[in-house]
């Protein structure tokens, strides 16, 4: 009991934190001045107003709260908010107009080498980079809205950019009009959950060398080149929506050299290509919906041991396309709306194997202009005869157990 009291006493000492107010109606008018007055553990409450104070640096463990959405304006000359301490909370600010520079990458909010930082409920408007985590651990980015207005890739920075970090939580942010919505490089063991990334000039989500991250229930819509993920293993993608990514090199989801990953229950709707898989191995693509895409999946011949099971392929122009005759992947128990087989024993599985690769898909792959003839009667005729007697398409490119009814996903 004595020890307990001593510990309690010690705690009460450290709990001796104060709240400092900054605002028009308070003695302290400037944010920088306010920060200078705080010590570790204090709260700095900034009241509504327009603060043009250049680069604001937080180098103490403080809670930095905006009340009535105060605006921090970088006037296109400064990085707006730099966080250089652990355990900082930034809540409820409107951060606008960071500078533009390609060497220092000025940001709306940048966190340098810190842990346990929370950035939440902020609005970021017209910044070069939005929120940038550099060498951070166990940080949370939650409920922020980011918007940028550039037209060209080189004028724009990324929305949420993380570099060499781990255990990051990125939850419920909306990113619009940046270069890449969310960008990861060397970021491990992180969770990206319920974000909406739209109209970005390059990718909605872009990551490289970021192992063991999980992406759940995000929406990636109408981004310049869709979503692109490369050189990573152990990715988990559940329940995401990839839609309306249109263009020749735009993909709902581009997977390059991705291995040991699990792609489950996602929706790919109206993309030029739903999934583009290149050099991937040991991935499982299960229970996804491919609807109204130009190409449901483009799976290159250099992929191996991928399992594509229990997916629905509906209303796609081409369900599958590939660039060679080598097939080292398995396609089983999928529903293909172009399947024309029968099911005599009524077990829900078609009795005739289905060859999802159409002759015309192969023709278009080797000579893209052939697209001009799509749906012409002659092409239909060629396709039908190829289905009966595969000669050009690889005959082991086959779903041996095609489903008769779409899976209820």
């Amino acid at each position: 009991m004595k020890y307990f009291l001593i510990i309690l006493l010690l705690f009460s000492f450290s709990l001796n934190a104060t709240t400092i107010h900054v605002g028009k109606n308070y003695p302290i008018k400037s944010v920088k001045e306010g920060i200078a007055l705080t010590k570790d553990g204090d709260t700095l409450m900034v009241h509504g107003g327009w603060y043009k104070e250049g680069n604001i640096i937080i180098d103490k463990k403080i809670v930095f709260i905006g009340k009535g959405l105060p605006v921090l304006d970088g006037e296109k000359k400064h990085e707006v908010l730099s966080i250089k301490s652990d355990s900082v909370v930034v809540d409820g600010f409107k951060v606008i107009k960071s500078a533009y520079a390609t060497i220092t990458d000025p940001c709306g909010i940048k966190v340098y080498n810190a842990k346990y930082v929370i950035i939440q409920n902020n609005v970021l408007d017209d910044n070069f980079f939005g929120i940038y985590l550099q060498n951070c651990q166990k940080c949370t980015i939650k409920n922020n809205r980011l918007k940028a207005y550039g037209k060209e890739e080189q004028q724009l920075g990324n929305g949420i950019h993380c570099w060499k970090s781990n255990d990051i939580l990125i939850i419920a942010n909306r990113i619009d009009g940046h270069r890449d919505g969310i960008y990861f490089e060397f970021v491990f063991d992180s969770l990206i959950w319920r974000n909406i990334s739209t109209n970005n000039v390059r990718y909605g989500l872009h990551f490289m060398f970021s192992h063991s991250d999980t992406y759940i229930t995000n929406i990636f819509r109408n981004n310049g080149a869709g979503v692109s993920v490369m050189y990573t293993k152990g990715v988990k993608m559940f329940n995401n929506t990839f839609e309306q990514n249109w263009g020749d090199s735009a993909y709902g989801l581009l997977l390059k050299d991705i291995s040991d990953s699990y792609i489950f229950n996602n929706k790919f709707i109206s993309n030029t290509s739903g999934i583009y898989l290149e050099g991937g191995s040991r991935n499982k693509i299960e229970k996804n919906q491919f609807i109204s895409n130009g190409w449901g999946m483009k799976i290159q011949a250099n992929c191996m041991d991928n399992e594509i099971v229990n997916n629905n392929f509906l209303k796609n122009t081409f369900d599958i396309s590939t660039n060679g005759s080598l097939v080292l992947n398995t396609f089983n128990n999928n529903y293909w709306d172009k399947y024309e087989g029968y099911d005599l024993n009524r077990d829900g599985v078609g009795d005739v194997p289905y060859h999802p690769l159409s002759l015309f898909a192969v023709l278009v792959e080797s000579n893209p202009s052939t697209m001009l003839l799509y749906r012409s009667f002659m092409i239909t005729l060629l396709d039908k005869s190829e289905k009966v007697l595969p000669s050009i398409t690889p005959d082991n490119f086959v779903d041996n157990k095609p489903l008769m009814k779409p899976l209820p996903l």
């Binding site: 993309n271 893209p368 052939t370 001009l372 003839l373 009667f377």
Partner: protein, 263 residues
């Protein structure tokens, strides 16, 4: 005077129309179209398969029936035409009224058979595009029928020519294009190919529908070239004008031949 002529023409059109619309083949055609379209829409839970069936009907059945029926009708009504010619009516008026009567009836058959289900199940850009393109295709192939029936007096030969025309546009032309595409695969021929499609009314029709039906795939590289041309409102107007030319040119050639033909 002019008014009187139009009135006379109207009367001939009316006679021809009522004759054709009572024709069993046209009735059967309408019925078959209707059964095909309704069943393909009703049986499938997604409307895209129904649309595909109707697309095939537009690109395949409609041209065939239009050109064959019109050719046969023209040969069968040669006596009626001769009777009309003995009256004080200009040849142009007679040929025009025949054309208007035949194409109107084919368009009505198409609209009743395939147009109504399209309007009900797919009341969007694709549906309207299919209806308009289907109607124009009917007229184009009636015009081609006029050409094939005026070329020769022999009925069997005329029908043969009609079938050949249909076969060429429905099948052989695409084979030719495919051959060209692979022969010249090393050259940037995408734009030239856009020009070549103008040489077949069926291809023009198909691409217009394709741009609405397979939007996602058409956003790919070559698709984008076609979309840049055909997808713009200028391209749309140009390709519809070209389709109209496909009706006007064969018909005007046949009209010229009919005017100077010794019957």
């Amino acid at each position: 005077m002019c008014f009187k002529l139009i009135k006379k023409m109207n009367r001939i059109i009316k006679i021809i129309l009522s004759d054709i619309l009572k024709n069993k083949i046209v009735l059967a055609f309408t019925l078959i179209l209707a059964i095909l379209s309704w069943s393909s829409f009703a049986l499938e839970d997604n409307s895209s398969k129904g649309l595909l069936t109707i697309l095939n009907v537009i690109l395949f059945t409609v041209p065939l029936v239009s050109i064959l029926f019109a050719t046969i009708y023209l040969y069968n009504s040669s006596e009626f035409i001769e009777l009309l010619l003995s009256q004080p009516i200009k040849r142009v008026k007679i040929w025009m009224s025949l054309f208007i009567g035949l194409s109107t009836s084919m368009v009505i058959a198409f609209l009743l058979g395939a147009g109504i289900p399209l309007l009900i199940y797919s009341p969007n850009a694709v549906g309207f595009m299919m209806i308009s393109v289907g109607s124009i295709i009917s007229i184009v192939f009636v015009a081609l029928a006029f050409l094939s029936s005026i070329v020769t007096r022999d009925k069997a030969k005329g029908i043969g020519i009609a079938i050949m025309i249909w076969l060429f546009f429905a099948l052989l032309f695409d084979g030719l294009v495919l051959f060209l595409l692979f022969q010249f695969a090393d050259y940037p021929i995408e734009k030239a190919m856009v020009g070549i499609t103008a040489l077949s009314p069926i291809d023009l029709a198909r691409i217009q529908i394709l741009l609405h039906l397979d939007v996602s795939a058409m956003m790919g590289y070559t698709g984008a070239i076609f979309k840049d041309f055909f997808g713009t409102s200028l391209g749309l107007i140009v390709s519809f004008l070209l389709l109209c030319l496909w009706a006007i040119i064969p018909f005007s050639i046949s009209l010229k031949m009919f005017k100077s033909k010794d019957l």
